[in-house]
Amino acid sequence: MSNLINVYQQRPAAAHAESPLFHAGLEQLAGKGSARAGVTVREKKLLGHLTLRGDAKDPAFAGGVHKALGLELPVALTLVAAGDTSLQWLAPDEWLLIVPSGSEFAVEQKLREALEGQHISIVNVSGGQTLLELTGPKVREVLMKSTSYDVHPSNFPAGKAVGTHFAKSQLVIRHTAEDTWELLIRRSFSDYFWLWLQDASAEFGLAIKA
């Protein structure tokens, strides 16, 4: 295995880390926003993000994933979660696995072991993206300002996740609980999305959670 794919621990054991929204100083802003905020934002930062590719139609693949993660492969446009680990369908042969910070190297090795011999790909993309959690009664309206995808609960129940157009760019929207949504954003676009969200939620009141 090791001579076929180059896998190594990319996250240092101890070093100063800066999430994609580090520069926004969210920690300092926490608690300072509107008291009755319609929208509350939290960056779920520095998690382990792995892109998993494989053949969904091959039972050995689904079986291997289950063996390594204890999670069933999610079907189209859904995500499954257990504790701090979530597995999301991105495409018919592509999933996003989010694991606690620092565990991504071990998880990748475990997956590779379980999927030994199969044509798969696992790529660590932890540094390239982040999750923004939005909670509150007005989140749906902020999303409606931003994306042409229908976020009404009849079309977008909790447990659903879609890649779509957002403002003038793209991201993944994950509906994780009734009033809780997550935006999966790319690092280089994070400032743009952060500006956009501040603007779009201004009329509803915005609060930050550390």
């Binding site: 189209a76 495409a91 018919p92 592509e94 042409s148 890649g163 793209q170």
Partner: protein, 108 residues
């Protein structure tokens, strides 16, 4: 703005999630070197421009990033079907003409 059914996501999505990639079903010649310049030019540069049914290649770029084909009417912009790469269209200009003829009682 078109509303396009992505056969991979299994949903209708807005056009802004997609990119159009031109005419579908133009396979790359298996042996390009065996092509004359004229044949290669035909493959490379010449495309149909029908008034009516047209098969097109699209990619769901903001969604699953998968390519698929769409049968679209170039006058009304109606999308009659979308189907995965490797599949054949069920709505074709020839088939439609045939059906029209048989509806009008014309038999071959």
């Amino acid at each position: 703005m078109l509303h396009i059914f992505c056969p991979h996501c299994g949903e209708l999505r807005s056009e802004e999630e997609f990119h159009a990639k031109g005419q579908a079903h133009i396979p790359r010649p298996l042996d390009p070197t065996a092509c004359t310049d004229a044949e290669w030019g035909e493959y490379l540069f010449f495309r149909d421009n029908p008034r009516g049914i047209h098969h097109e290649l699209w990619v769901h770029s903001a969604g699953c990033r998968k390519y698929f084909n769409a049968t679209r009417h170039t006058v009304t912009y109606e999308i009659l079907e979308t189907y995965k790469i490797g599949e054949k269209p069920s709505v074709t200009a020839a088939g439609t003409a045939e059906k029209k003829a048989s509806d009008q009682g014309v038999t071959a």
